[in-house]
């Protein structure tokens, strides 16, 4: 079977070679490599399209090895891979229009609120919410910035991941 993927590489010599090496070593066939240095991903890295062939088991081994080596696969067979971002908000979550908070995050392209847990405090001004966002790789910075801005305008304390 054949697998198309896009991986992100740093623009330094040797990176492409290092990413391609495990493909041959693990027994998969390299079909195409498209490497355009002038295009950058949102994280400032170079997207390289790679098509490989092999049995399912071999392809799994290749994907695991790439992950292990620290190469980030951002797209597989046309599907953009997602990352999960957790944040906690403290403040008057409900009265400051919880639907609007979610809508504002959902408006970002490639971003979706996947989960929202709310815990009311005795004092409604200090309720807490955990928002779990699924975002396309590379969108993390936009999401965190958006949530910070919402926090500022609605007077929420925003606690984001390190």
């Amino acid at each position: 079977m054949r697998l198309n993927m896009v991986i992100e590489l740093l623009d330094v010599p040797g990176q492409l070679l290092a990413a391609l090496e495990p493909i041959g070593t693990l027994g998969a066939n390299l079909v195409t490599v498209i490497h355009q240095r002038e295009i950058k991903t949102e994280r400032g890295l170079i997207p390289v399209q790679i098509t490989i062939e092999g049995d399912t088991e071999t392809l799994d081994l290749v994907m695991n090895k790439l992950n292990e080596l620290g190469f980030r696969v951002i797209e597989v067979d046309g599907n953009i891979l997602k990352e999960t971002i957790n944040t906690i908000l403290i403040g008057n979550i409900v009265d400051r229009d919880v639907k609007d908070t979610m809508d504002q995050i959902n408006q970002l392209k490639g971003v979706r609120v996947a989960d929202l847990s709310l815990k009311m405090s005795e004092e409604p001004l200090h309720s807490s919410a955990r928002i779990t966002v699924e975002a396309d790789f590379g969108k993390k910075k936009d999401v965190l910035e958006k949530i910070q801005n919402i926090g500022k305008s609605k007077d929420f304390l925003v606690i984001s991941e390190v």
């Binding site: 815990k119 405090s121 807490s128």
Partner: protein, 337 residues
């Protein structure tokens, strides 16, 4: 080495204890004899060119509260600056209370000692957070040592560690827990499920939080340390006003609970990088190096060669902080031999 010890609170008394405990060891291993020739507190000073007895100083301080009651050598109501003129010394150890308004009296004492060509060791954060560049440049101009390991992270080695143990590495960023009081409060809230107010009171009863806890809980203390790390390790020219600061007083037990269910803890993290000088509550993974509890401090240094290196240690305490001061004194001694 003749020492003027400016300030005789918890840290100053720790220094006296360490001198009493370690003098024989230091003589034997390093040929260093630490002699206290002057000690000051808010009551005045005790001055003796022949040296003061650290044990007697501690006894008099605990019994009467004033070093100026030291037999024969005690002087009431004398200004710190004047003490520096009254005695021959080599190194000033300055451990007066941190003042984030104008850095005094630490700033004036430090400037005077440096201009008099004396080495200076400090645990103080205020003057460093406000006038870092100015003080460092002055020490260079005068060719003296100015060391401040104890100002960040208490006994946790970080400044000398970065400069002497990781030389040749470029340090890209530092992420750490730099305040023991807030770490204690957040840890207790996580374990006990207690409220912020209740836990703060508990910390105050245990002497971990001060009666006025503002500097700790509003993140100001951690922000001062952020400034010191940024200047001294990353070479970022900044002062306290450049740090984004959010404290922990709005954290609720409900928020901690929500974090816990997803495998996170809430910690007051300081971030030091060329893109960000920030102190704020953040989510950290329960099994990460950031998950240290109680009054512990920690810091992860991201480097170009050694990748990530993490240090952990007690962030406060009298003898613990004095151990950092002793390491500075020894480094000065070794560099001058």
């Amino acid at each position: 080495m003749r020492i003027c010890l400016m300030g005789f609170g918890a840290v100053g008394q720790g220094v006296a204890k360490v001198i009493s405990l370690k003098n024989d060891y230091l003589k034997e291993h390093y040929g260093l004899e630490l002699k206290l020739v002057a000690v000051t507190d808010s009551s005045g000073a005790a001055i003796s060119q022949d040296g003061l007895d650290p044990d007697l100083l501690l006894k008099i301080k605990s019994e009467t509260g004033k070093v100026s009651n030291y037999p024969e050598a005690g002087i009431e109501n004398i200004d710190g600056i004047n003490v520096l003129d009254k005695v021959e010394y080599d190194t000033m150890v300055e451990v007066t209370p941190t003042n984030i308004q104008n850095g005094e009296p630490a700033k004036s004492l430090t400037i005077k000692a440096i201009k008099d060509k004396k080495d200076v060791v400090t645990s103080n954060k205020g003057h460093l957070a406000l006038f870092f560049r100015e003080l460092i440049e002055l020490s260079h101009q005068n060719g003296v040592e100015f060391k401040y390991e104890a100002s960040v992270g208490g006994a946790m080695p970080i400044l000398n560690f970065a400069q002497e143990t990781l030389p040749g590495n470029e340090i890209k960023s530092i992420l750490g827990i730099l305040n023991g009081t807030t770490n204690f409060i957040l840890s207790r809230m996580t374990i006990e499920g207690s409220s912020y107010e209740q836990t703060l009171q508990e910390a105050q009863q245990l002497g971990i939080a001060e009666t006025d806890p503002t500097q700790d809980v509003e993140g100001i203390d951690a922000a001062c340390k952020t400034v010191i790390l940024a200047n001294s390790i990353l070479g970022i020219d900044c002062t306290l006003k450049d740090v984004q600061v959010t404290g922990i007083s709005r954290i609720t037990s409900e928020a901690i609970d929500l974090a816990k269910k997803e495998g996170y803890l809430i910690k007051l993290m300081a971030e030091v990088s060329p893109d960000s000088l920030d102190v704020s509550p953040r989510l950290v993974k329960q099994d990460s190096p950031y998950a240290v509890d109680g009054t512990l401090n920690m810091a992860t240094l991201k480097t170009d060669l050694a990748d990530e290196v993490t240090v952990v240690g007690l962030g406060a305490g009298s003898v613990e902080t004095a151990s950092a001061i002793l390491s500075d004194l020894l480094n000065i001694w070794k560099s001058q031999k």
